[in-house]
C-alpha cells in the first residue's frame, strides 16, 4: 500500500471530523478549529494526489494551491476569531446557542 493511499483515506476522515465538529462543537473557538481541520483534510487529499502523479518530482500545482489555501484559511480564521472576540466583548456570549 503506497503512502498516498493511506493519506488520501486519512484526508476523508479528517474532513468528516471537521464537519462533525462544526455541528457539534459549541464554543466559537472550537467551531473555528473545526473548519481548519476540515481544510486540513482537503489539503491532505490534494497533496496525496500530487504524490500519486509524481514523475521526476511531485506535481507542483497542488502544492502551490495548498500553500495558497493554507494562507487564505488562516486569514479567514483570524477574521473569524476577531469577530468571535468582538461578539464576546459586546454580548458576553461565547456560542451561538443561549441555553447554557
Amino acid at each position: 500500500m503506497e503512502a498516498y493511499k493511506i493519506y488520501s483515506l486519512t484526508s476523508a476522515v479528517l474532513f468528516v471530523i471537521g464537519i462533525g465538529g462544526i455541528f457539534i462543537a459549541r464554543h466559537f473557538i472550537k467551531k473555528i478549529i473545526a473548519t481548519i481541520i476540515m481544510g486540513g483534510g482537503v489539503f491532505l487529499c490534494f497533496v496525496s494526489f500530487a504524490e500519486r502523479d509524481a514523475l521526476n518530482f511531485a506535481d507542483p500545482v497542488p502544492h502551490a494551491m495548498v500553500i495558497t489555501g493554507i494562507v487564505v484559511a488562516v486569514a479567514s480564521a483570524a477574521f473569524a476569531l476577531a469577530l468571535a472576540r468582538r461578539i464576546y466583548q459586546l454580548t458576553g456570549e461565547e456560542s451561538f446557542t443561549k441555553d447554557q
Binding site: 493511506i6 493519506y7 486519512t10 465538529g21 457539534i24 473557538i29 489539503f43 494562507v71 476569531l81 469577530l83
Partner: protein, 328 residues
C-alpha cells in the same frame, strides 16, 4: 516499515483532531491544535511536500495557534467559571459537548457516516489523470527558478499568488473593521521581564536571517515568500509582546506603504508587462529570475507586516474596551 510510519502518523493526526474537538477545556483544545498542525506537517514531509510542511507548521500551527492562544485571554475566565459549578471540584460531565435529543444525534451520525463513505469512494476512484507534472517540468527552464513549486507560485500561476496577498490584506482590513483601528495610539512600555528581553535580543537576528535564507533559497529548494514572511512576522509579534511594537515608531503613511507594496508592485509589474506586449504576469524568460526575486521580497515584507498588524490588532482588542466603543 514506511507503511507502519505512515499508518501511525495518519492515526495520530485523526486522534489529535478528535481529541482537539472533544477536549473539555479550551486550553487543551488550543494546544492539541498545535500538535495536530505539527502532525499534519510531518505527514506532508512524508508525502514529499516540504514547502507545504513549512507553511503548515509556520502559518497554520504557529501563527494561528498564537492567535488562538491570545484569544484564550478573552474566553478562558468565563469558561472556567462555568466549570466551577456548585458541586465543588467535580467537572460537570459533557458541559461543552452538548446533549441534544437522541434523534438529531442519530441523524447527524448517520449523515456523517454516509458522507465519509461517499468521500472515501470518490477518493478511491479518482482517475489517474497524470496531473500537471509533465507540463510544469517542461516549462521549468523558462520560469527563471529551479524549484517547481516556486515556479508555479510566482510564475505559472502568479495570478493566484497575487490574489492571495490581496486576501491577507482584506483579512487585515476586515479585522480593522471589526475591532476598530486603534493600533499604537497609546504609549507602550518596554517589557520588564529580563527573560523576554533576552529572548527578543537573541531571536530577532536569528529569525531575520533564517527568513532571508528561506526567501532566497526558495528559488532552488523548499522555501519562499510566505515561509519567510511568517518568520519575519514572528519578529514583529515578539517585539509587540515585548512592548516595542515596530509600527509605533514609524509614521502611518510608511505602514500603509509597507502593507500595500507587495500587492501594488506585483500589479504594477503585471501592467508593465502588459504594456510591453506580454500577458499579465508573463515574465520574459531572460529577466524572470530577478523579477521573481524582487516580487517575492516585497511580498514577504508586506505579508510579514500584515501578519504583525493582524496579531497586534487582535491582541489589543482585549485592552480598554471603552476606547473601542468610542472609535468604532
Amino acid at each position: 516499515m514506511s507503511v507502519l510510519i505512515d499508518g501511525i502518523l495518519a492515526i495520530l493526526a485523526i486522534y489529535l483532531a478528535l481529541q482537539c474537538l472533544m477536549a473539555q477545556r479550551l486550553t487543551q483544545t488550543v494546544f492539541l491544535f498545535f500538535a495536530f498542525g505539527l502532525a499534519l506537517a510531518l505527514a506532508w514531509i512524508r508525502l514529499g511536500a516540504v514547502d507545504v510542511a513549512i507553511a503548515e507548521a509556520a502559518i497554520a500551527a504557529g501563527f494561528l495557534g498564537v492567535l488562538l492562544l491570545d484569544a484564550l485571554r478573552d474566553f478562558s475566565p468565563t469558561f472556567s467559571q462555568k466549570q466551577k459549578n456548585p458541586e465543588t471540584g467535580q467537572n460537570p460531565p459533557g458541559k461543552d459537548d452538548n446533549k441534544p435529543p437522541f434523534l438529531p444525534r442519530l441523524a447527524l451520525g448517520f449523515g456523517l457516516g454516509l458522507f465519509l463513505l461517499i468521500s472515501l469512494e470518490a477518493i478511491w476512484k479518482t482517475p489517474e489523470g497524470g496531473g500537471l507534472t509533465a507540463a510544469s517540468e517542461a516549462f521549468l527552464p523558462e520560469s527563471g527558478v529551479e524549484h517547481p513549486v516556486t515556479a508555479v507560485l510566482l510564475n505559472f500561476r502568479a495570478y493566484d499568488t497575487w490574489l492571495e496577498i490581496g486576501v491577507i490584506l482584506m483579512g487585515l482590513l476586515a479585522i480593522f473593521v471589526v475591532g476598530g483601528i486603534r493600533l499604537y495610539s497609546r504609549p507602550f512600555t518596554a517589557a520588564q521581564d529580563p527573560l523576554l528581553r533576552q529572548v527578543i535580543l537573541f531571536f530577532t537576528p536569528v529569525l531575520f536571517l533564517f527568513g532571508a535564507f528561506l526567501l532566497y533559497f526558495g528559488k532552488s529548494g523548499p522555501g519562499g515568500a510566505f515561509q519567510a514572511a511568517v518568520l519575519w512576522g514572528a519578529i514583529g509579534i515578539l517585539l509587540h509582546l515585548g512592548g516595542r511594537p515596530v509600527f509605533s515608531v514609524m509614521p502611518r503613511w510608511l505602514l500603509q506603504l509597507i502593507l500595500t507594496m507587495g500587492l501594488g508592485f506585483f500589479l504594477l509589474l503585471g501592467f508593465l508587462l502588459m504594456a510591453t506586449g506580454n500577458a499579465l504576469f508573463e515574465y520574459p524568460p531572460a529577466y524572470s529570475g530577478i523579477m521573481i526575486l524582487i516580487v517575492e521580497t516585497l511580498a514577504a515584507v508586506s505579508i510579514a507586516a500584515a501578519l504583525t498588524a493582524i496579531f497586534a490588532n487582535v491582541n489589543l482588542m482585549k485592552e480598554d474596551p471603552n476606547q473601542t466603543e468610542s472609535t468604532t
